[in-house]
């Protein structure tokens, strides 16, 4: 057994926790009247405990491994003009504060809580209001960010930063946060081995979760609701995505999930519901998409020609205007064992597998691909006639995408879960 870096950090933290507890109290009446004074005075592994009240101080900087803890009602207020807290040392714990009012700036990535070049930090149970960036992690190793609530201010995309932003970091755990109304909910850039679990990310102008050069990361059981787009995974390899909800991402350029220039990703047991586009794959190689559910989307899956080697297995497609569209003629991937509500075949031997192949790309979808405005004719009788003609005259249907073993949909629409 080789202990990973995370284990070593845990050992250090454990050692710190077992050391004798020094607690420095910050209250309006002393012993410490400012947080900065207490932090400066605190020895390694001490706890600085801040009483309820609104604290307005110059940016506080922590370099020692201490715990900074806010009592209920402790508020750090940036008065619209500064970062609130900068963490530079290892093993720092920040917990229980309300951070607010950093103000908006276009010249720097101003964050309420900025962790820079630190390791093994824990940021939990904080609340962020009216912050440009809420939590900004740069060159961080092995930090955990959990159980925070980040509430954005209404504004425009450029007037707000990201709720949780990571740059050049490794081994992050981002869990159970509730993130609302920023540019990106979570933005991971040049960040590897991140684990993003159980977060709710909603109402962001751009993406609920944004991967940029973030290899070997996993995100699971998150909910991405009503963002500009749900999740964008770009220029990354080895990303695993499972059991997430992508819903209500609607708009002319909105996706549940955008895959752009990625390789070797796995997408399993996610649900895509009510998105304009469920998945848009542009330059995705060797992506395995299995056991996902696509329901009531405009386009469930759009594959651009730059995509190859995809495997689409045992997914369920219900109530989408288009299940699959492609903009090229090549083979874009393998489809097998999916359930399609548009399947018109039969299953005479009742083994659950349809007896004839299913071609999920509608001819009309190709027309819409060429002339998007033709979408106006959706649900018209003419398009219905086109569909019928397509079944009679299969020469119209693109042969490139075919499911040779479509599964029969059960009447209860239970699908793939």
């Amino acid at each position: 057994m080789v202990a990973g870096t995370g284990d070593i950090e845990m050992l250090i933290l454990l050692a710190l926790a077992l050391a004798p507890q020094v607690v420095l109290e910050v209250t309006p009446d002393g012993p410490y009247r400012t947080i900065a004074a207490a932090v400066a005075a605190a020895p390694r592994s001490a706890t600085v405990r801040v009483a309820a009240g609104v604290w307005r101080e110059p940016t506080i900087e922590i370099t020692e491994a201490i715990t900074l803890e806010g009592m209920p009602g402790a508020v750090l207020d940036g008065e619209g003009e500064r970062e609130l807290l900068v963490v530079r040392g290892g093993g720092v714990i920040v917990r229980g504060f309300t951070f607010r009012n950093t103000g908006t700036t276009y010249s720097e990535d101003r964050a309420a809580l900025h962790v820079d070049g630190a390791w093994g930090c824990l940021i939990e149970q904080n609340r962020f209001e009216e912050t440009f960036f809420a939590i900004y992690l740069s060159r961080v190793e092995g930090c955990t960010v959990r159980d925070n609530l980040v509430v954005g201010t209404p504004g425009t995309e450029s007037a707000t930063g990201n709720a949780i932003h990571s740059w050049g970091s490794r081994n992050l755990r981002i869990e159970r946060n509730d993130l609302r109304g920023h540019r990106d909910g979570i933005y991971l850039e040049f960040t590897r081995h991140a684990t993003v679990h159980d977060n709710v990310s909603t109402g962001h102008f751009r993406y609920g979760l944004h991967f940029m050069y973030a290899d070997s990361s996993t995100y699971a059981r998150n909910r991405f609701v009503a963002n500009g787009s749900g999740v964008a995974v770009m220029y990354s390899r080895g990303v695993v995505m499972h059991d997430n909800d992508f819903s209500g991402n609607r708009g002319p350029t909105a996706y549940g999930l955008l895959l752009k220039e990625i390789t070797d990703a796995v997408l399993a047991r996610n649900r895509f519901i009510n998105n304009t586009t469920g998945i848009l794959a542009d330059g995705a190689e060797r992506v395995e998409v299995r056991e996902n559910r696509f329901e009531s989307n405009g386009w469930a899956i759009r594959l651009l020609a730059s995509t190859s080697g995809g495997r689409f297995l045992a997914n369920t497609f219900v109530g989408n205007a288009f299940d699959v569209t492609v903009n090229g003629r090549g083979t874009l991937g393998v489809f097998k064992g999916n359930r399609w509500d548009s399947y018109r075949g039969w299953d005479l031997d009742a083994d659950g597998t349809g007896d004839v192949a299913h071609y999920p790309v509608r001819f009309f979808a190709l027309l819409v691909e060429r002339a998007p405005v033709a979408m106006l004719l959706q649900r018209s009788l003419f398009v219905r006639v086109l569909d019928a003609a397509e079944r009679v005259l299969p020469v119209l249907t693109p042969r490139g995408v075919v499911d040779e073993a479509p599964q029969m949909l059960r009447a209860d629409r239970g699908g793939a879960e």
Binding site: L367, L376, Q378
Partner: protein
């Protein structure tokens, strides 16, 4: 007014006696019931009903309207020899045909939803909007049927023309739009196409209903253009005017044809 009512009642009674309307109403109600029962009453139900209503309503309006004019021909002549103004007779005859049809459609669509207690609640307006659109389409297409039947005295010929009109409005017109859309490719032609859609009351109703359902947001870029164009006050005004025009102009044309017709 009194005269119109006195004429309208027997005309409507005559329309209902045809059994067509009853069949239509019960058929729609049964379909709705089946859909509610077996597809969970979600958006799928509404969309399926929308499909059926948009195909069936104009067909019913055109066919029943045409048949009714010919069916009522002798009575019309009998009444025309009485001291009754033609205008009033027309209103009675038209409304006596169109209103029962519209009512049958509205009841047929709403009944299963009412039965399942789905006529209250935040989503109720969708089925109500569908029913209202069906009713309005019935009024429009019945007026067209009157124009056709009043101009073509031969029963079979009139029915043929009515079916041809339906085919054009329900199918071929959209084919033309598709051809134009494909021909002009990516150029911004939403505006002209919207006008083309508004010219066809079937398309107008379909697009309006699509906008009302979730589907609009799923239309992608086109949906956004639609929302942007039609979601504004000007857009709404234009749509309202188009609807109003469709509801008033065809009956007025039919009335004029009726007033000038030599029986």
């Amino acid at each position: 007014m009194n005269t119109i009512l006195r004429l309208l009642v027997p005309a409507a009674r005559e329309a209902v006696r045809g059994r067509w309307l009853l069949g239509l109403m019960i058929g729609l109600a049964l379909l709705g019931e089946l859909l509610l029962r077996f597809s969970g009453g979600g958006p799928t139900t509404l969309v399926s009903l929308l499909d059926v209503a948009l195909i069936l309503t104009p067909l019913a309006g055109l066919v029943i309207g045409t048949m009714q004019v010919h069916h009522a021909r002798e009575v019309t002549e009998l009444l025309l020899a009485q001291p009754i103004a033609r205008g009033r007779l027309f209103i009675a005859l038209y409304l006596g045909t169109a209103l029962p049809l519209a009512l049958a459609l509205v009841i047929g669509l709403l009944a299963p939803f009412a039965w399942h207690g789905l006529l209250v609640g935040p989503d109720a307006w969708r089925i109500v909007a569908l029913a209202a659109a069906s009713g309005a389409l019935a009024l429009v297409t019945t007026a067209f049927a009157f124009i056709i039947a009043l101009r073509a005295d031969d029963r079979v010929r009139a029915l043929g023309i009515a079916l041809a009109v339906w085919l054009v409005a329900a199918v071929l017109w959209d084919g033309l739009i598709l051809l134009i859309a494909l021909g002009l490719g990516a150029r911004p032609i939403e505006g002209p196409l919207l006008v083309m859609l508004a010219i066809n009351p079937l398309d107008l109703a379909r697009v309006l209903l699509l906008l009302g359902t979730d589907a609009a947001a799923l239309l992608g870029y086109t949906g956004a253009v639609l929302q942007r164009t039609l979601g504004t006050d000007v857009g709404r005004l234009a749509l309202g005017s188009a609807l109003l025009l469709w509801l008033t102009v065809p009956p007025m044309v039919a009335a004029r044809v009726f007033a000038r017709k030599d029986f």
